[in-house]
């Protein structure tokens, strides 16, 4: 018998047994009898009319089984890939929502848009046949940048979407903001770009589809963060397959970061094709294929203004953003730069008036959707950058201006002017903790030491908050969500007292199998090793919404907690009968049901046994069995946040920025497993540092070609880019989640870009540099220094 390992412990991760010994079971590990290979043929052009496809040579090639195109999908009356959010403009006019066919019809709109699907006996044969397709394109001019896309005369992606504007969205009280600006003692202004990112999970996307004629059932194995949602969207809205005839399995998945939380056309095509060819089909993306088809992230151009009074108090904040949607609306696409962005512009400050306008724009690029942080890093970056700009323009210390505007701990719950109400937090406490941990006191000494080596050292702060634990369904529904955002859990107690949990979230690296087992172990007093977590299979798990938006513990864990409470409640009824006591007198503690004030007790195992061998059991009032299910819909988001402090050294000779110190003190609520939380923070921070210093998805303006199309040109952060990070928590408890938890999966990515860039700007401020766009590459820094050191032209 093992031990209870409960909340606050850091056991080794259960899932690592299989991951670290090479026993994981990923989609590409799966082989089905008679399996064929599928290859997607993708547009090499950013924008073109698709005039025709001659597939005769491909069909005649060795091993080829079928070649499917958009025309076949149209003939089979398949649906368009659905968008899960319908946003509207200020007048209530719904966004433009052009169809997103799973295989292109009429036109291609980005390099990587799918044109055909070739199925052959082997991947080599499918690849060879794919090269034989004769595709007649009439190439059109592409437009890839948001500024260019909405200018008059720009190439138009859709006939009925003028100026490529999907939605002209706004939030906040425009009039109140304008009047505050009129009274301002100072207005800080900032134009910035939030660079486009590619997610790069370690495992590329893959899928296998199979149709069983005997039962008329489909199975799709896919690299997904939310298999139930794929089943729902694809079955109900795209392929017209009844839900009970469709099984979607997301087995071990090698990282997601958002990239795998969408319903992709590949999934629909391969499932549809499996029935047409009556054979299982496997498709595994290469890294390069992923670059032109995995949904990208970020990509904003923003103008922001902050109005302040003479003491540096924020009076109003105004933000105008152009957000790139790419060529079509992806599953969450329009939600990210709007609902997950505008409501975060209050940050940890008491700014009374905020207005935000976001023009959501189509371009000839890969569709843009959620990527770790999704909207909140963009909001945090704008806000935390402009706070620094204001501080420097007004001659106020950067920490001091933050303190003057921070929401005090006592003011929670705090209603912001942009919809959200923070339930709890202590930004000042996080700031104070971080100042000490980062040894800010002695920064001057370190700066001089750098200067003596000819290097510029800078310090950057980001005091931030985010909204996660997606999402309160009622709230989301008002904002345009077309589905619910609750989560579900089933706790199945076996006759011998072990527990299997079926949960609707999906573990793809986060350590859920460990964290969730700790919750059950704590709440039921069952040994940690006697709890297994099952997820990722629509045939085994009740409906669930999956994993994204730092929701698994917050929403899924809450459902699990609720279900364990139900198990205890039923157990008490059984115990009351067995112990001949009143139910109200039964206590449950440390795995024992006992009669209060006596030594009469039954163990958890005995109760489970009685539930399944009901010889002496209250059958009149209770059903046999011990299995409970709970759904949980949160009443609010959770609002983790904190203070990040980055310290950089810039080599002025080459423009290289080196991150030399990094400190994060975050409020993530109750910590279930400190080791896992630390890992999430580390990973999140590194991804944010990646955005700040290295990563950039670059398209060629005229052709729409992705120039950063592989890891040779797209720079991911590496271990040797990072100093040892100092990560700590300073938690206040969430007031509405059952265990007081807040999300921790994305905070690192949300807080860090601003901290790093603020540090870079600080390092260069003596040269008059006031802003640096991301990524702060050596080339970009060198050029800034060239321009900065140019002598001012004589009059």
């Amino acid at each position: 018998m093992g031990n209870v390992i409960g909340i606050g412990a850091s056991p080794k991760r259960k899932e690592d047994q299989r991951f670290l010994t090479g026993r994981g079971n990923y989609v590409s590990d799966i082989k089905r009898p008679g399996m064929t290979a599928g290859v997607f043929v993708r547009s090499p052009h950013g924008h073109a009319v698709l005039r025709g496809i001659d597939r005769s040579a491909a069909l005649a090639a060795p091993g080829v089984i079928a070649v499917l195109t958009g025309a076949d999908a149209a003939a089979d009356k398949l649906g368009s890939l659905p968008c899960g959010w319908g946003i509207s403009d200020a007048k209530g006019v719904p966004m433009k929502e052009p169809p997103f066919p799973m295989l292109a019809q009429g036109k291609v709109r980005f390099v990587g848009d799918m044109v055909a699907f070739v199925i052959a006996e082997t991947p080599e044969q499918a690849n060879a046949a794919a090269e034989l397709l004769k595709i007649d394109y009439e190439v059109l001019p592409s437009v890839v940048g948001v500024l260019e896309a909405f200018r008059p005369g720009a190439p138009q992606l859709f006939d009925d979407v003028p100026n490529n504007i999907c939605c002209d969205w706004e939030l906040g009280d425009k009039a109140a903001v304008e009047s505050a600006f009129r009274k301002a003692a100072h207005v800080a202004k900032l134009s910035l770009v939030n660079n486009r990112l590619i997610g790069n999970p370690m495992e590329p996307r893959a899928a296998i589809a199979e149709y069983e004629p005997g039962t008329d059932r489909f199975t799709l194995w896919t690299t997904s963060q939310f298999p139930h949602v794929v089943r729902f969207l694809m079955g109900a809205l795209v392929l017209n397959i009844p839900q009970h005839k469709l099984r979607v399995v997301a087995p071990d998945v090698g990282g997601g970061f958002g990239v795998k939380q969408f319903h992709y056309g590949e999934e629909a095509v391969i499932t549809w094709a499996a029935k047409r060819v009556m054979r299982p089909i496997k498709w595994v993306a290469s890294r390069s294929e992923g670059y032109v088809s995995d949904r990208h992230g970020r990509d904003h151009v923003t103008e922001a203004e902050l109005a302040l009074d003479e003491t540096g108090k924020f009076l109003a904040f105004r933000v105008n953003t152009l957000a790139n949607m790419g060529g079509y609306l992806s599953t969450f696409g329009p939600n990210i730069p709007t609902n997950l962005y505008g409501p975060l512009l209050g940050g940890v400050y008491t700014t009374p008036a905020i207005y935000c306008n976001v023009k959501v724009v189509f371009t000839n690029t890969v569709p843009v959707d959620a990527y770790r942080g999704a909207g909140r890093p963009e909001a945090t970056f704008v806000l935390e950058r402009i706070v620094d700009v204001a501080a420097s323009e007004m001659g106020i210390d950067r920490v001091e201006i933050r303190r003057r505007n921070m929401i005090p701990k006592e003011a929670y719950p705090y209603q912001t002017p942009v919809l959200v109400q923070y339930d709890s937090g202590d930004p000042m406490g996080c700031l104070d903790g971080a100042l000490v941990a980062a040894d800010v006191k002695n920064f001057g000494v370190r700066k001089s030491a750098s200067a003596s080596k000819g290097k510029f050292r800078g310090l950057g702060y980001s005091t931030y908050v985010e909204a996660c634990g997606l999402a309160p369904s009622r709230f989301a529904g008002r904002l345009g969500a077309r589905g619910g955002l609750y989560e579900s859990a089933t706790v199945r107690v076996h006759p011998t007292g072990q527990v299997t949990v079926m949960i609707g979230t999906h573990n793809h690296g986060q350590g859920h199998e460990t964290t969730f087992a700790q919750i059950v172990s704590e709440k039921l007093g069952v040994a940690f090793e006697n709890v297994d977590i099952v997820f990722g299979d629509t045939d085994r798990v009740q409906f669930g919404m999956g994993t994204y938006g730092s929701r698994s513990l917050v929403v899924g864990g809450a459902a699990l907690s609720k279900a364990t409470d139900k198990v205890v409640a039923k157990g008490k009824k059984i115990a009351a009968h067995l112990l001949e006591a009143a139910e109200v007198d039964i206590q449950f503690k440390s795995g024992k049901f006992s009669v209060a004030g006596t030594d009469r007790a039954k163990t958890f195992e005995e109760i489970a046994g009685a539930a399944y061998v009901p010889h002496d059991y209250p059958l009149e009032v209770l059903e046999p069995g011990l299995e409970e299910q709970a759904y949980y819909d949160p009443v609010n988001f959770t609002y983790p946040g904190g203070c990040h402090i980055a310290e950089v050294e810039v080599d002025p000779e080459t423009g290289t920025v080196t991150l030399v110190n990094y400190t994060a003190v975050d409020d993530v609520g109750t910590v279930i497993n400190p080791m896992i939380v630390e890992g999430q923070l580390h990973g999140g921070i590194v991804q944010g540092v990646g955005q700040a210093l290295f990563e950039n998805a670059v398209y060629d303006e005229s052709s729409g070609q992705l120039l950063s199309g592989s890891l040779m040109d797209y720079c991911m952060p590496r271990a040797d880019h990072m100093p040892m990070m100092k990560v700590a928590t300073h938690s206040t408890l969430c007031t509405h989640t059952p265990m007081g938890v807040k999300g921790c999966g994305e905070v690192g990515t949300i807080g860090s870009p601003a901290a790093v860039i603020n540090a870079v700007v600080d390092a260069l401020s003596h040269l008059g540099v006031t802003h640096v766009d991301m990524p702060a590459t050596p080339n970009r820094i060198w050029r800034l220094l060239q321009n900065a050191s140019l002598p001012v032209a004589a009059e």
Partner: protein, 265 residues
Amino acid sequence: MKPFAYHQPDQIPDAAKLLTSIEDSKLVAGGMTLIPTLKQRLANPPALIDLSKLGHLKGITDDGDSITVGAMTPHAQVAASKLVQTKIPGLAALASMIGDPAVRSRGTIGGSVANNDPAADYPAGVLGLGATIVTSTREIAADRFFLGLFETALQPGEIITAIRFPLPLKAGYAKFKAPASRYALVGVFVAKFADGVRVAVTGAGPGVFRVPPMEMALSENFDPSAIAAIKIDNDGLTSDIHAEADYRAHLVTVMAKRAVDAALS
């Protein structure tokens, strides 16, 4: 990857014969460059001729006034060689900066020099040291070997068997790594001989090149300060999403200074 025939000869003449007799066939050494191009279907040779059984192509020998590195010697072996570390530390340092440990243990000097990638490191060392490329048929001076972007003086059917490096008085390499690929965005190899200094630059342009003004200045005074004011022309240098030509030109001077520093330390 398309199917291909695979040959593993154990004699150089046999390898050369296969290479000339099978049209479009390719030699494979470490495969670090070639295999990815096959996988991406960018090259589709009908046959691969593997050089790994030509055992005498692998290894480093002390010739007294030079060092000979066999074509099949992997980068890691050059980096770790006591001989190279003592006699030409700059070359050992260069080898240690190539790629990552996996690439260094498979990739070979012959493959790197034959490939002549404009951002590869070895071409700077070979040209900077004025090495001799020994092939199955002749010997070629480095100054006549590198002909720009992936072009070399190798004739069809010709196989590099070794590179012979003369011993410099001092030599150093400084590399500014391209952020993503970690090839050389700009790499500069500086070597001082009794009769003068050679400066070779990789990464900055379409092929490795020498910088005569720097060579003259350093021959006068082998010190970073001697070249601090020498700027090279942006013209003909590479501009891409990582670095524009003027930045590369600037880096040539910075890296040249650092290479001299490395040679002096």
